[in-house]
Chain length 247, copies 2
């Protein structure tokens, strides 16, 4: 497992081959053994394979290559709908129309997504997380017919890899682990932590091609801008209201 | 991996044995290879082993057995602090003081937590997720000295198992997997999905001991009540404001 993990990388180019539903079902069934709050299993997954459905879903993920190339798309949803229905049928008054319940169900859904990812990669499949899920939850919900109390929280593009990208770089681990209390970072420590990343040839080229001064500007000015983050924050909060989790 | 997973259960009783820091560091370092949004690694972990620190942290987790018994407590935090500091040192204007950024960093932190869990269990360690983390993030932040833009999102109690609990039951997997669109549940489907769970001897006893009519009432009236959820929703939202993620 460890070896698979340390050599893993997100895959954005997949072979055309379909993945059998039996394979997907087995991986998901196994992933459902992940920890879940109070054993409530507050999640659902929606598998997209149909071309027409995929076409409708594409704009929500900005038609990014990983989405377009993957034979299978799996949307992991925080789901209190099923649990609330059960409560109502059992003379129990559910109190899950609130923010804490959304977070609880999101945690459940994300642990399943990551468990699925690790099992899939161990089996030779490739995956890519689509962070666009929380940008366009309203559009995704429409395409997938998600009822109230169901919120898509992440999506995986899944398929057999058709590329062998270089292993992803990571920050020095010691910089992310704190013992007993959080030791805030000095300027020197920040410099040290980001030194290797900033000096990768690919990142240096990326800065140059984009006419930026620093790698950090690639993130703030291009990839994850204040304007986008603010806009999509409002979309997400509005959607949480619509789905019943925020007043 | 699959076999470990299918036979896993959360552990709440641990041997007294400490876990070496080198073991924890290695497991965490490996877990950091999990997928992360834009390779930003928006998380930090705080390891608690010191008895005095653990004592201060205990009330935040309601001194639950898994917390009290575990030799090691690991708090997984959504962390934009480090990234924002880097941006500021690199003449880049960060725009991460918003809800979407909190969700992004939370996803990153949760994928690491679950990766760590799976690696730890493969190594023979036991873990238990502490959902209390998002109930008392403000109190946890005080004990762990978490700065602005750092929010504890989940906690793991970790140690060598001193119990072999029965395998956890799960809902029939097919009920949680939807193809193409979400098929909402009929009354009959809800009955069918929850049938096995409701008829487990332990759950039947639990209902009887607590003088409840149904298992669902155990959740709504005792374990996850409307009153608690509403109270802790406000605590969490106030804390997100305090940490800079919500206006």
């Amino acid at each position: 497992m460890k070896d698979v993990l340390k050599n893993r990388k997100s895959i954005r180019k997949f072979k055309y081959d379909d993945i059998d539903n039996s394979v997907i079902n087995e991986l998901l069934s196994d992933a459902f053994y992940a920890s879940t709050t109070g054993n409530m299993q507050l999640y659902s997954v929606v598998v997209t394979k149909d071309k027409e459905q995929k076409g409708k879903l594409a704009p929500s993920h900005f038609s990014q290559p990983a989405f377009m190339n993957a034979p299978v798309i799996i949307t992991f949803c925080a789901d209190y709908n099923r649990f609330i229905k059960w409560c109502k049928q059992r003379n129990a008054e559910p109190g899950y129309n609130n923010f804490q319940s959304f977070i609880t169900a999101s945690i459940d859904a994300l642990l399943v997504a990551q468990t699925f990812s690790m099992l899939a990669e161990e089996k030779g499949l490739g995956i890519c997380y689509l962070g666009t899920t929380t940008y366009n939850p309203d559009k995704i919900a429409k395409v997938l017919d998600l009822p109230k109390f169901v919120v898509p929280i992440t999506t995986l593009a899944v398929g057999y890899p058709d590329e062998s990208p270089e292993k992803q770089d990571r920050l020095p681990a010691k910089g992310l682990i704190h013992y007993e209390t959080y030791k805030d970072y000095s300027n020197e420590e920040i410099d040290e932590l980001y030194y290797a990343k900033e000096n990768l040839t690919c990142n240096k080229n990326f800065v140059e091609i984009n006419n930026k001064e620093t790698l950090a500007q690639i993130f703030t000015d291009i990839r994850y801008t204040k304007k986008d983050n603010e806009y999509f924050s409002q979309v997400l909060l509005d959607f949480l209201k619509q789905q019943g989790f925020v007043e």
